[in-house]
Amino acid sequence: MSEPLPAALQQIKDDFRDLEVRDRLQLLLEFSQELPELPERYSEHPDLFEQVVECQSPVFIFVEVDDSDIVHLYATAPREAPTTRGFASILAQGLAGLTVAEVLAVPDDYPSDLGLTEAVSPLRIRGMTALLGRAKRQIREKTAA
């Protein structure tokens, strides 16, 4: 019996799966438009961000863990890469407010479970899986010390 997904991630998954394949792309596009701008303290420090090479277009992510053990994920990707922006936005919204333990418990194959594989191809979904993997690794590194 696997752990239930955090509420936001479950909601995103349900929202995608309730749609026809073609409309799932439209929802992903909406996510891509919702990817927040980087906070000012990061916008001039691209060096802090880690590039996820498995994504087709360059995407950079950076994870913070605050004093209450809450994870904050920041990501940036070019406007010409809406799919990648959409993936990052899903994770930023889905993981918002979760604790370290909750994020680490998110199944690694969550991206394959969104019903998007058919719409964007398995190859592209791998980019999102890699993003989630990078986020978790950064959290482990930050909390190991």
Binding site: Q56, A81, S121, R124
Partner: protein
Amino acid sequence: MTVENDPSPRFAGYAHPERLVSTEWLQAHLGTDGLVVVESDEDVLLYETGHIPGAVKIDWHTDLNDPVERDYINGEQFAALVGSKGITRDTTVVIYGDKSNWWASYALWVFTLFGHTDVRLLDGGRAKWEAEGREYTTDRESAPTVEYPVVERNDAPIRAYQSDVLDHFGSPLIDVRSPEEFSGERTTAAAYPEEGALRAGHIPSAKNVPWAEAAADDGTFRPLDELNAVYRDGAGLTDGDSVIAYCRIGERSSHTWFVLTHLLGFEGVRNYDGSWTEWGSAVRVPIVKGSEPGAVPSRR
């Protein structure tokens, strides 16, 4: 030909100038009977963010590749796909896309596997259309479904299989990947997903001519004299050569295939779409590491 060619003097020197249209030409011909504009991008959502009015979308991965076997779609699938985009056998198809028409060239090459006669590229692709401030729309695709005949794919003239490459040794091979992939430092382009090759390096005797050497900064193809400098003077190709081009999965080499075939006029150029993801994982095929082409291998 159902729609007139672009008479632009910019294309006049190329071997087949009818294969290109300019942004000005396309702007003036939008909505013309018998013309369908197709967008084909690396990013599966880019079309949805805004596209040339009336254009339809064909995705290289979800539309052109068979979902099960590692192969292109068959004649029935192709007929259903392009018929649903309003394309008949006589339609003039103009393809454009992102990344200097990298994926648009791939789509054009697949159209050619099915013998579609009149298929052209928009020189400069999305980048040029955008840079010139031309119109985009986010209207949903609305093409009438039309009848396209079932035509069996004819691979042999323009597609090479692994066995064809083994038989080809002694004739020119062009590896269009980055120098790092060619030398074996890495198996994928920088910032691209690992698609799985067990060995790194290149096919012996291949010359390394990265595909982007054919593209100018604005995404258009370089003028004839510059292309000649790259492929004839640089890579040593001469008229009458039979050439095979390859990359990692056959997409970047479609761009080079277009340049060699339609701009420089080489005949019988083939694209080895199995490319490094096949060769680099195949058993008992010769591989060379390092930046030199290496000798033509003897038969095993």
